[in-house]
Amino acid sequence: MNSKSFAWVFVASLSLVDCESAAEVTIPAFPDGGLVRTGTPVARDRLMRFEGMFGVGNGQRIFGETVAVRTSPGTVSVLTDKNAGFAVLESACLPDGRVVVEGYWQYPTRTEAGLVRVFVEDTALVAYLCGTEEAPPTLPAVTLKGHYGEGNEFPRNPLDFTFSRELKPWRGRFFTVAHHGACENTDHCGTAPNSLESIRLAERIGSNAAELDVRITRDDIPVLFHDPGLSRTLVRGVFCNGQLAELSLAELTAACELRYGELIPTVEETLDMMVNETEMEGVYLDMKVPGAVLPTARLASRLMTSLRERNENDDPTDDRQFGALIAITTEEVLEAWHDAKKKLAEEGLEIPRCLLEYDPDLVISEGCVAWGPTWTAGPQVENVKKVRAAGAGTIYWTINQSDFIDAFLTQAHPDGIITARAALVFHHYQTLGTPPPIRGSAE
């Protein structure tokens, strides 16, 4: 081979080298299903006993010095500020008289993950967690002891969490809003943004609301999708091409899957899932196109009505507090919102609540319940106070960085933060945040 031929082959070979290092992460799981499989799940109301701020003894290398623990149906979530990490755990009463809490931990922005298995061994606490009696007046604080592992290895590294204090009020007060679900496109959470699976995961890793992007299909069905185009990065499917708005829902469902095989969900099925399968308290429906406003507002309106009926019936255990906000993102969407309100009134439907992103004065004049400023303009403390005085709240989008979460929490005391790092926001709210005042006060 002469030198010129060698040069061509060399350069051509280099052009084919795959330089990207974007390893997918496998979420670890106990191969036999874990001990929870052998026990009885701890009841939802008893899970509340796990909530609080905990000090970390062994295991600080993974979980940092403190963790916030909160619960949702079937899940105990351990949330740390170390690399925005979280542990998603299940708990069960075991035949041997212990309560096991086990599952996996993960850093969403990195490739590290592992297994966790800890136990509650205090007999009085186990008796409460696994029984049906009222809590005795002197129930001991929760201490969790066990082990963690890294990768798929069996947990063998010592780990313990010791209760230090109650959580600051957050349900109904401060919204950790999942940015289009649990994670960003470039993360390794195993779920695609704007999928039902991602919303379910978002609750398990620290969110109590979700910001979701709404577009409209050719047959006027509002669905969750961020971009106008069906990008290869977001969707799979040989025939899944072009613009989302050019496809009917049937075509979209038949042709397209999201990154991990999920279907593109409709807004209707999303609201149904959030209300009936989670304890999330709200959804921020980001109107990406004006055409999505009316059909989405209809769904939000019907949901409001059904929740009111549900909460006014004779069964208080059936009550459900959930807010669906129509997020107005542009002047064009605002015009569509005005038209939608007229149409809903003609149809005899309630007007759902709105959030306006770009102008705090319009938030007030439009009667919206919240302002949604971008964080890239800074905390804008005076505007936060202004909308609060008018009875509206403030939810920033989208803050993922510790320094800025801290600064915005301490300077502006917002009602919520949209984030892809729910564990981080929840933990920092619990350590630095001030529960926002009841909306409408000028505090």
Partner: protein, 271 residues
């Protein structure tokens, strides 16, 4: 992302093929720039036939911006151009507006293969300014250059709902392998993109990035520099950038540290 890599690979392969075809062409088909190009150094006139190629004369005359050149003290070359990064809208949160960046490059020969270099690129929202030095050597038909630059990365936007700045020092070691195809100089340049510590301002709040890493990526670019009769050089290039999201898109501050790959196209003129 796999589709992007395949696209880049295909384009690079096409580029290589076209250069190869140019190199295989009859010598009579190549333009003779010898009248207008700078005279080679005395030592070069005693070497092989390649010493008389337009590329060799430029490389020992004013020098190239990309092709490793061995100019004498005082040789100066200035270039203006642009590059365009075809970043997936999915990484850009759906933003479809992508703006080419203006580039300015300069090279000043120090003799004995050494040179100092300057690079500037900007589309106002993002600006990079680098100063560095490099050495180039020749082994047969091949030339090899090693450069090291340091500079600053500046992001600034005070419109469209933003009141934000990002500042970071930047460090860029580079290796360039060059090949003389007669009137065309082909260069393969591999760059390491190093940055940090980053400082970001929004409103009156300053802070850092949680998942920043000194290694923000790497690039592999293939450049073709085409000599002209006016002693200038047209250049174009194509390659792959593999970077963390915040290097390419500081504006959106995505904190995911994963690397993503996108094509970069460059073109310009060297005076």
């Amino acid at each position: 992302m796999r589709g992007t890599r395949r696209f880049v690979s295909t384009l690079l392969a096409c580029l290589v093929t076209s250069v190869a075809a140019a190199a295989q062409a009859e010598p009579a088909a190549a333009l003779d720039y010898s009248v207008t190009t700078a005279a080679p150094r005395a030592a070069d006139t005693t070497t092989s036939v390649e010493a008389t190629t337009p590329v060799r004369r430029q490389a020992t005359g004013k020098g190239f911006i990309f092709y490793p050149s061995q100019t004498e003290l005082g040789a100066f070359r200035f270039a203006i151009g642009a590059f365009y990064d075809a970043i997936d809208p999915a990484v850009m949160y759906g933003f479809n507006v992508r703006v080419p960046q203006l580039t300015l490059d300069a090279r000043y020969g120090l003799g004995d293969g050494w040179a100092v270099k300057g690079h500037f690129n900007s589309f106002f929202v993002t600006t990079e300014f680098l100063l560095g030095a490099g050495y180039a050597g020749r082994i047969g038909d091949w030339t090899l250059g090693a450069d090291m630059s340091v500079g600053i990365y500046i992001g600034q936007l005070a419109e469209f709902g933003f009141d934000a700045t990002m500042l970071s020092p930047e460090y860029r070691p580079e290796l360039t392998l060059g090949y003389d195809f007669g009137s065309l100089a082909l260069s393969l340049r591999a760059s390491l993109l190093l940055m940090g510590p980053e400082r970001v301002r929004v409103g009156d709040v300053w802070g850092g990035l949680d998942n920043s890493n000194a290694f923000v990526g790497h690039s592999e670019m293939l450049y073709v520099e085409n000599t002209t009769s006016s002693n200038g050089v047209w250049y174009f290039g194509l390659g792959a950038m593999t970077t963390r999201a915040y290097y390419a898109l500081w504006l959106l501050f995505p904190d995911s540290p994963g690397l993503f790959t996108y094509p970069r196209i460059v073109a310009g003129y060297e005076f």
